[in-house]
Each structure stands twice: as C-alpha cells, then as structure tokens.
Amino acid sequence: MFFILITGLLLGGTYALIAMGLNLQYGVARIMNLANGEMLVAGGFAAFWVYTAGQVSPIAALLVVAPVAFGVNWLIYTLMLRPLVRRAKSRGALEVDSILATFGLSFVFVGVMSWLFGGGYFNYSYLAQRVDIFGSSYGQNRVVAFSIASLIAAGLWIWLSYTRAGLRMRAVAVDPDSARLVGIDVPAVSALAFGLGAAVTASGGALISMFFTLDASVGILFTMKALIIVIMGGVGDIRGTIVAALILGIAETFVARVIDPGLTLAAAYVLFLGVLLFRPQGLFGKKPT
C-alpha cells in the first residue's frame, strides 16, 4: 500500500513538473502552448549534454537551464506571440491562433533538436541508486526530482500569493482587461509569465531526464499529459495543477499495480472525463461569471 502511495506521489511530482509551466503560460499569458513538451525535452537535452560533456549534475544544470529557457521564451513571446495577442479580438480567437502558432513552433523545436542532437535516444545514469522508504525501494533520482518539484511548487505558490508581482500575475490571470484598468502592464506581465512557465517546464525536463529516456520527438507525449492536468486542475491556479498531478499519479499507479498496467491511460482519461462532466472549470478553477 505504501508502495502504491509513494510511487504514485513520485509520479505525481513528475506530472507536476510537466504541467506547472503550462499552467502559468495558459492561465496568465493565455497562450495554449503546444510546444510545451518540446521545451521540456530541450531542458532534458541540455541536462544530458552538460552531464555527459562535463559531468555537471543535472541539478546544478538548472541554474543555467532555467534562465536560458526564460530568456528564449520571453523573446518568443515578445516577437512571435505578442502580435497574435494584439490582433486577437477575443480570448477564443487568441486561443485558436496561439494553438496554431505554437503547434508550428513545436515542429521547429523538433527540427532544431534533431539537427543539433540527432534523432537518437538520450539517457544517462545519475543517482540511479535505490533509497528505501517503508521497506520498498525507489530510485534516488525520482525522489530528488520530487523534492525539487515540491520546492518549485511551493516557491511559485508563495510568490504568487504573497508578493506584489505575484498579485499582478493573478490579476492578469483573472481578467486582463480589468488588470489594465488598475495600472498593470499586462503585456509585460504576460511575457514574464510565459518565460517563467517555460523556465519551470525546462527545469522539469532537466530533472525528468535523470530517469526518462528522451528523444527529439517525444515532446508531444508530455504536452498531452500537461494539457490534461492543467484542464483538470483548473486554468490559472497552480494549486489545482499540483493536486491534479498528484491525483493522476496515484490513480495511475493504483490501477497499474492493482488492476492492470494496460489500463493506466484509460484511468487517466476516465478521471479527466469525470472532471469535465462534473466540474468543467477544473478542480480549483473559478466558474466563469
């Protein structure tokens, strides 16, 4: 029982890493970023590269990966996505445009990564030893990734809840038009949220690469998972994403261990459907007024 719970929590931590960034991007900047998974893979490749080339720990690599991802994505938002935001007449129109634009962007990322790293599989062995918790063994790398995911989640939540910058971000998430009326620079906050989301996602990729075999085209898997989690949790609320990620992790592990591993995907989608049917705004989402 402990095994299912802990394995599920570790998996949920991984899912939180995959989805928290997308939540910021979609919730605040209103960009449904379909290139999210590719950003994650890019973070993983960067960690792979510094680890194999220079024996730098993937955790130390976060210090570089996160700022670079932030900068690159801040630029992507400012140069490529802001024109879409400007011309969009409604939130719906922006969603459609941003889905198309970032879908294209995901192919660009895949192409660039195949060109830089080739199409092969990438993995390495880091902290692949066992650690015993309540009599069962778990990978140290998964436990470390979970701990850092918790730190990132806690940091984000505190920052969003208790700082002025966080307040501005929440204001934009709730209503960009009203936020502008009270003097918030909405485009700047959106760019910040988009870059920050990408930094979280790329950091997640660097951590996940410790135990996940990646290749240049695997990103779409992560994007799909992240979409489910963000929509389940409620758009624009980081707590919802974390809770949804943990629920999904524990549910999938339970189904895999007790019923059948073949049904994990089915279990995930049943949960997803249930949320859509009974709480369409997501677990922590606010009903549209």
Binding site: V218, P261, G262
Partner: protein
C-alpha cells in the same frame, strides 16, 4: 607538324579520358530511402537504420560504385523522413517512385512501417528487402507481395528460442519453472507474448505474472513491483526502447534480480551498455551477433569511423545486409532494370555474401539463418541462440545487479 600531331593526340587523349570519365559519372543508380527521422521510432532508426544505409552507400561509392554491364554506376541516396507514420511512408514511396524516379528503394524501418509500405512497393514494382522487420507472416506476405524479402527472421523463431533458452537452463538445474512475462501493448509485443506464453506453457513453465502496458509507458515501477512479488526465476519483457531502459532501471532500483532478465528491442543497442555499464552483464535480449566474426568487426569499425557511433548488435548488420543483397543482385544482372533485378532476387537458388554470412532466401522469401537471442557478456552483446549461424556463445546466469 610533328609538334602539332603530338598536341593533337594529347588533346584527343584528354578528350577521350574526359569522355570516359563523364560517361562513368553519368551512370548513377538512384536509391530512395524513407524512414523515421522524427516520431516515436526516430530514436531506433537513428541507431539501426540510417547509419547502416549511409555506410553502405559510402563504401560502395568509395569502391567505385556498382558494376553494371556498361560500366560502373555510383549510388545517389535520396532520403525522406516518414515521421514514423505509415501514411507518410506510403506517400514517400510514391514520391520517390514518381517524382525522384529512383531506381531502387531501401525498405522502411520497423515491422509496422514495412507492413504498411508493402502494398505500395509491390504496386510500384520495387523490391522490398527488409532488415528490421520481424514477423511470422512470411508465407502470406510473400504470396501477396512477391517482391518482399525478410532478412531479420521470424518472430516465432525468436520467441521459441527464448523459451528454449529457459528450457535448457531448467534442464541444467539453473532455474525453476516460474516465469514473469510482460509486453508492450502493440502488434509486436502482443504477438511475441502470445507465442512465448504458448511455448513456455507447452514446456511446463508456470507464468506467475503476466501483463502488458501501453506504448510509451516509462513509469514502470508498479510492473516491476508486481513481477518481483510473484518471485519468478525468469523475467521476459517484449519491450520497446524507452520501456526497455525503464524496466532495467526499475529492476535495478527495486533490486529485482531473477536469474534470467530479458528485455527486447534496444537491449542490443550500444547505449544500453553505455547506460547500465557493468550492471548490464548477463541481461538477455533479442538478436545478437557473433562479435568474433571478422566480417562483423570490420563492419563495426567502418560504422564507427563514418558515423561516430557503433552499430547495434542486431538489426544494424541485417539492414546493411539488405543493401549488400540488393547490390549483389544488381551487379550479378549488370542492370538497374528493376524487373531484371527482381527476377534475380526471386530466384531462390542465389546466395548472397553478407556481413551476417551467406544468405539464401527460401520459398517464402525468408532468410532462415538468423540470430535469435543475445546476452551482454563483458561489454559485448553476444548471440547465445541462433538459427543456422555459427559462433553461438554459452549462456551465463544473471548474478544480481551489483
């Protein structure tokens, strides 16, 4: 006058030489190749397929090309990405035939894409010599698509030999009856697991744990936990690359160390040993080679020199062999006329000299001499079971992970 004659004859000689050279350069065999560069199987194709194809083209051109009846012809390779998408594979084949007008095509990568492309290869009249396609349907496929050839072997042979390895170990008193059997839930995994289960049960083994998981699953801790709880003597997984790595990783983490630990695709990749190092010792997988064979060693060295990476210890060599076979058929007929080459390939009396050793197709266009099971031993993935191949190594028991 005299001087002029000399000049003239020199000029004529130069012209003649030039003419000969340009005649040589003019004759080109266009070879089309569509295989994954993106998509789920890109990682596998990047290890197994593309380097072998490029290596053969490079070496053939270095050696002056293929000898046709009217002189040598260089190979021009035209590459497409099929995105691991059967629809794209079909479109690419069509495009190569009609737009690029290639003379021959390299068969696609993987069982699924080869099956998907078989009708279009057949319809367009191109030989499809497959090197990374394992199936049990050779009789039906070759009847339906007479231009489809099979170098890598039969799934039945692989599953039977894997079971036979267990039977032999049990006879020797090394293992008991308990087997855990898992598979990835796609055509490959389901077929392999079905055959192995039947063969194992026929031989009196007890399947103490059996399950499957969706394609793309890498969170595999519950499966290893379940398998471990069933206390098997042998663990057999019909897995794909991502899950092959994840299963091994979790088995190490949970210290699940049965005497036989078998994972399928990617176990034979050099990166498997790169990732797990000494812990890979004793792990078994599909395929294998005879690493002591000078032909394989030369192939591996050339592979390393050209592409900067070693070949895998299974389908790299057979992919390369498919092109050796095509090249030898072209040279034997002295023609790049597809119908003529096809007729030569369909003549089952012909024997080809390849990196795998001699290959002769049987009446179902199948190569019945192939490696079935391999095992990591001292950093090399040695073939420990084969159909009709020499140099089979002895099996060692897996002795824990640490």
């Amino acid at each position: 006058m005299k001087r002029r004659t000399v000049m003239m004859s020199m000029a004529t000689a130069a012209l003649l030489a030039l003419g000969a050279a340009s005649a040589q350069a003019q004759d080109v065999i266009r070879l089309g190749a569509a295989a994954p560069k993106t998509g789920p199987l890109a990682g596998g194709a990047d290890v197994t397929h593309w380097p072998a194809v490029r290596l053969w083209v490079h070496q053939t051109n270095e050696a002056g090309g293929l000898q046709l009846a009217d002189g040598p012809a260089l190979i021009e390779l035209i590459e497409y990405d099929d995105q691991t998408n059967p629809q794209q594979a079909i479109q690419a084949a069509q495009r190569m035939a009609t737009q690029d007008r290639v003379d021959f095509m390299v068969a696609p990568y993987s069982t699924g894409l080869n099956l998907a492309a078989a009708p279009i290869f057949s319809q367009l009249g191109y030989p499809q010599i497959t090197g990374s396609n394992v199936t049990n349907q050779q009789p039906e496929l070759s009847a339906q698509f007479p231009g489809m050839f099979f170098v890598l072997g039969r799934t039945g042979g692989m599953a039977e030999d894997t079971a036979q390895v267990l039977v032999d170990l049990r006879t020797a008193g090394d293992i008991g009856d308990r087997v855990a059997l898992v598979n990835v839930a796609d055509a490959f995994g389901i077929e392999m697991a079905g055959i192995s289960r039947a063969v194992l049960e026929e031989n009196g083994f007890e399947i103490v744990y059996q399950t499957s998981y969706p394609l793309g699953t890498q969170d595999i801790a519950p499966i290893i936990d379940g398998a471990r709880a069933a206390e098997p003597d042998a663990f057999i997984a019909w897995s794909y690359p991502g899950d092959t790595f994840a299963l091994t990783d979790q088995a190490i983490v949970q210290n699940f160390a049965p005497k036989v630990f078998f994972t399928a695709v990617a176990t034979a990749f050099p990166s498997y040993a790169g990732r797990f190092g000494a812990q890979a010792e004793g792990v078994m997988g599909m395929g294998g080679v005879n690493p002591d064979d000078p032909a394989f060693q030369a192939f591996a060295e050339a592979h390393m020199d050209l592409t900067g990476q070693g070949p895998d210890f299974w389908a790299s060599a057979s992919t390369y062999a498919t092109l050796e076979i095509l090249g030898q058929a072209i040279e034997a007929t002295g023609s790049k006329d597809r119908a003529v080459v096809m007729a030569y390939l369909q003549d089952h009396a012909n024997i080809y000299d390849t990196v795998l050793g001699p290959i002769q197709f049987d009446e179902t266009n199948n190569n019945e001499r192939y490696w079935t099971v391999g095992q990591w031993q001292d950093g090399v993935f040695r073939g420990v079971a084969a159909r009709g191949r020499d140099g089979v190594s002895d099996i060692i028991l897996k002795d824990g992970w640490d």
